[in-house]
Symmetry: C2
Subunit: 257 residues, 2 copies
């Protein structure tokens, strides 16, 4: 690898690291390409040369984070594949919940700028990660033999991402997110359970059902649009409180079919 390539890689890493720091320091507010370029000490055009777009920068960061998490998940392996599945899910939930600011921001911005990890999540490596314990469960007689491990794994991934998305949006807090994921997993696995596993899964199911919060109260996810005064013009101390608009319900224009 020539010097040229090395410098390029260096810049790439500097940009990724800057993105990470920026998210940690400011959340999504302040995560602008101009700020990113400044922090990485490159010009505004460089991230576009090296990644293509803002979304691509963050997708790469997100992918790296995901791979790291998946590597930790791979390590979890015991004698009981079903317990493994639940432990893997729990590890994932706990990881996200352990750093809400970072992960919520990252996930939110990945969700928004389409073509995120979702393609990969279904067609790529994530499915295979979940597929392995499912297959092991089938072999061990703990899950129905006629179940297709790939489709089951897809279903688990979709559920996981769905609940995670609610957490990102602040509809669920970390605790509720974890319990919901485990509840959903248990429910899906219960559908595939055999006599050898049903009793245990039912116990799990009842436990998670008991732990689920009945009331949903939307929490502040820190992603709301804040009035970001340019930091230079500190005069006019934020007095203007915009009146909340809540007009009478307008009728739906016809033709929705």
């Amino acid at each position: 690898m020539g010097l040229r390539e090395k410098r390029k890689l260096e810049r790439r890493e500097r940009i990724l690291a800057a993105a990470q720091e920026l998210i940690r320091e400011t959340g999504s507010v302040g995560l602008s390409m101009r700020a990113l370029a400044r922090k990485a000490e490159v010009s505004l055009a460089t991230p576009y040369n090296l990644f293509g777009s803002k979304g691509a920068v963050l997708a790469e960061l997100g992918l790296a984070v995901l791979k790291k998490l998946e590597r930790k998940m791979e390590e979890l392996r015991s004698h009981d594949p079903i317990e493994d599945l639940l432990h893997i899910a729990e590890l994932g939930a706990n990881t996200y919940a352990s750093d809400p600011r970072f992960y919520r921001t990252l996930m939110a911005v990945l969700t928004a700028s389409a073509r995120g990890l979702h393609d990969d999540a279904i067609s790529g490596g994530s499915v295979r990660l979940w597929q392995r314990p499912v297959e092991a469960g089938i072999r061990a007689g703990l899950l129905r033999a006629d179940a297709d491990s790939e489709f089951v794994a897809r279903d688990l991934v979709i559920t996981f991402l769905g609940v995670l998305d609610l957490w990102v949006r602040g509809v669920l807090d970390g605790e509720a997110m974890r319990t919901h994921i485990l509840y959903a997993f248990t429910l899906a696995l219960l559908g595939l359970s055999t006599d050898a596993s049903r009793a245990k899964l039912l116990r799990h199911y009842r436990r998670f059902q008991r732990q689920l919060p009945r009331e949903i109260r939307v929490v502040d996810n820190g992603l709301a649009r804040r009035r970001a005064r340019p930091a230079g013009e500190a005069a006019n101390g934020g007095a203007a409180v915009a009146a909340k608009v809540r007009a009478p319900q307008a009728a739906l224009p016809e033709g929705i079919q």
Copy 2:
């Protein structure tokens, strides 16, 4: 209601109708606030006065669409609550799939501009819609008596939205989306099935499993960022093809924890 209120409502509806037309005509490209204001024959600031933000305009449109769909869903009621659940899900999937351009665009933009329908979906009316057939199923002895209908309904909503999101992103086509939803529903219900319903649900499960596509090929969802030449400057016929950037994988900056 004074003249003022009437005019206001008029403008609101004009804006919503304009948003709908704009989506149908141009997809997400061209769905700008300036174009919206022009089509609705109001000034750029008016939608902000009346709704608050672009996301809020589309959220209102989306909510109206959702309510309309849910009203159709409510009508589906037969003697078999489990069949009802599947039929409701199928109706939803078919409705979305029947007009991909419109619904994909609407859903994509709702997903992106946070605080969409997702709050409502979990805490609001959607859950209750699914909850009713689940309750009926429990009463009829088709689902386990110790199941909590609210949590089951939440799980179904989350799954539905998760699969729908994959369709919106183009990871699944309409057919695969419908089958995936039905597969996931069947799997969840199978976990709660009783002797009275298990055989039938198993038949469904095997059928949907057979219909699922094994290969995932990402389709064009029409939401990619297109180079939108201002329509006035037709010269310089789109020659410049930007070189695709695909650099060697950069290492993850340390400290992700």
